[in-house]
Each structure stands twice: as structure tokens, then as C-alpha cells.
């Protein structure tokens, strides 16, 4: 699984690409946490546009980042979720903690990616 991080206005966007499971989650986590600690952004957006599979390891990833970033006064949102990834996150009640945006969902989202 690949992660690359870009800055977009005041936010850091982490583009996740590939399958997010127990095997792949640790490297993703390390990369995001390393960036968060080093660059102390105000907002982090996890972009799931390239995620082709996700199980409960994805829940753990988002929940863990939420806790870590809240403590550092950094907000977290998740965007471009496939219907399946959205379903898994909703099951965990993550929508109560962070903004979850589905693929193709427009409007109102503070840090939604601008049209190219």
C-alpha cells in the first residue's frame, strides 16, 4: 500500500493507494504519524480514493489517528470513501468522530479537493 502526502491550503492530504488490511496498516500509520509529528499540520485529510479494499484495520487506523491528532489540536477528516469503506467505518460509528465523505459526494466539505 502506498501513501503520499501533499499539502493543500492549510491541510495535509494523505493519499492512500491499495489494500488497507492488518498487513499493510502499520506502514501507512508510521508514514502519517511521522508526518504529523514533524510538520504539525492543523488539518489532516485521509483520501481513500485509491483504496481498493478495507477491513477493520482501516477503522483502527482512523480511530488511532483521531486520538493522536486530537491531542495535538489537529483535525481529521476522511474523504473519497468507496461505498464499502464507508459502510465499514459507519459500522464502527466513526462518523460521530470525524467527517466521512463518500466518493463523488460534493458540497460543503471544508477541505474537499478542488476540481482540477
Amino acid at each position: 500500500m502506498q501513501v503520499h502526502i501533499e499539502t493543500e491550503d492549510a491541510a495535509a492530504v494523505c493519499y492512500l493507494d491499495g489494500e488497507l488490511d492488518h498487513h499493510n496498516a502499520p506502514s501507512v500509520r508510521e508514514k502519517i504519524d511521522e508526518y504529523a509529528v514533524g510538520s504539525t499540520p492543523k488539518h489532516i485529510i485521509l483520501d481513500f480514493g485509491g483504496v481498493t479494499f478495507m477491513d477493520s484495520s482501516g477503522i483502527g487506523l482512523v480511530m488511532g489517528r483521531y486520538k493522536l491528532l486530537s491531542a495535538a489540536n489537529c483535525t481529521l477528516s476522511v474523504r473519497n470513501l468507496s461505498p464499502h469503506a464507508y459502510k465499514v467505518m459507519r459500522l464502527a460509528g466513526l462518523d460521530a468522530l470525524v467527517t466521512l465523505q463518500k466518493r463523488g459526494e460534493k458540497g460543503g466539505k471544508q477541505y474537499a479537493k478542488a476540481e482540477k
Binding site: E19, D21, H22, H23, A25, R29, F53, M54, D55, S56, S57, I59, G60, L61, M63, G64, P83, H84, V88, L91, A92
Partner: protein, 149 residues
């Protein structure tokens, strides 16, 4: 007792890299049932959770074998049995509770919740020191929902 119309058995090392193979193999075998994208994702995710449990819990102290048996029945029913010979679960009921986990870090404790939510039935048999068998049962309606059962 219904007879399966097709069956496959797999045996895997409990390496995390095999999680991806396990879920893809099971979903490929089930493809003959013509499941919807949502149904195939449900199966893949439930299998991924069960196999991950074997790796992070059952064989947490070393390497072992994971045995998977997939059986297809008439009417679109699929049964996936995931078995290990690992440490076993002390309290199955507790283990199935949402958010319960014996591991810290980023484990959400939602593995069984995901399996239960994405399958029709989840059966767990476990014996301490002997191992655990998780059976996932799901009937897929398929892309052609009007199909005769």
C-alpha cells in the same frame, strides 16, 4: 444435511502477507454464485477479519497453519470455515463483544462485529490450547436477484 455442490480447501502459513491471498481466493471461488459487488466485498472483508484473528491472536507466539474450507450450496449459500490450531479463545462471548480486544495499539476490537454484520451467521468454536474454528455463512442473492433458488 445439505450437500455442497462445490468445495475447496486451502492451507496457509499464518503470515500477514497471506491475508490478501486468502480473501481473494475465497471470493474468486464464490464468483460462480454471481454475487453483487457489495456481496463480494462483504465476504472478502469477513474472511480478512477471521484470517487476521488467526495471525494476531491464535498464532501470536509463532507461525502456524490456517485451514480454510469453502463450500457452495444451492440457493447461493456460501460457507467459509477458517480454522487454526492456535491458543484458543478463553471467553468466546467476550471476544465477540464489540470493541473488546486483548491487543492494544490500533486494533479496533471490531473484527467479530464486522463478520457478524457482513454475514448471515457466524459460528465460533474454540478450545484453549487446541484452536479455533470460525464458520461464516452467507446467502448471496446475486446480480440477478430474480434467479431461481
Amino acid at each position: 444435511m445439505q450437500k455442497p455442490k462445490n468445495e475447496v480447501k486451502l492451507q496457509l502459513d499464518s503470515r500477514s502477507v497471506n491475508e490478501g491471498y486468502a480473501r481473494v481466493a475465497v471470493s474468486a471461488f464464490a464468483a460462480v454464485l454471481d454475487p453483487t459487488v457489495e456481496e463480494i466485498n462483504d465476504i472478502r472483508t469477513a474472511v480478512s477479519e477471521a484470517v487476521t484473528n488467526c495471525i494476531v491472536h491464535a498464532y501470536r507466539n509463532g507461525m502456524g497453519k490456517i485451514y480454510i474450507r469453502v463450500r457452495l450450496f444451492d440457493g447461493g449459500k456460501i460457507e467459509v470455515q477458517i480454522r487454526d490450531r492456535g491458543c484458543g479463545i478463553a471467553d468466546v462471548q467476550k471476544a465477540r463483544e464489540p470493541l473488546f480486544t486483548t491487543l492494544g495499539g490500533d486494533r479496533s476490537g471490531l473484527g467479530f462485529s464486522v463478520m457478524e454484520s457482513f454475514c448471515d451467521r457466524v459460528r465460533v468454536r474454540s478450545e484453549l490450547g487446541k484452536g479455533t474454528t470460525v464458520t461464516l455463512i452467507k446467502t448471496v442473492k446475486g446480480r440477478d436477484a430474480s434467479r431461481e433458488p
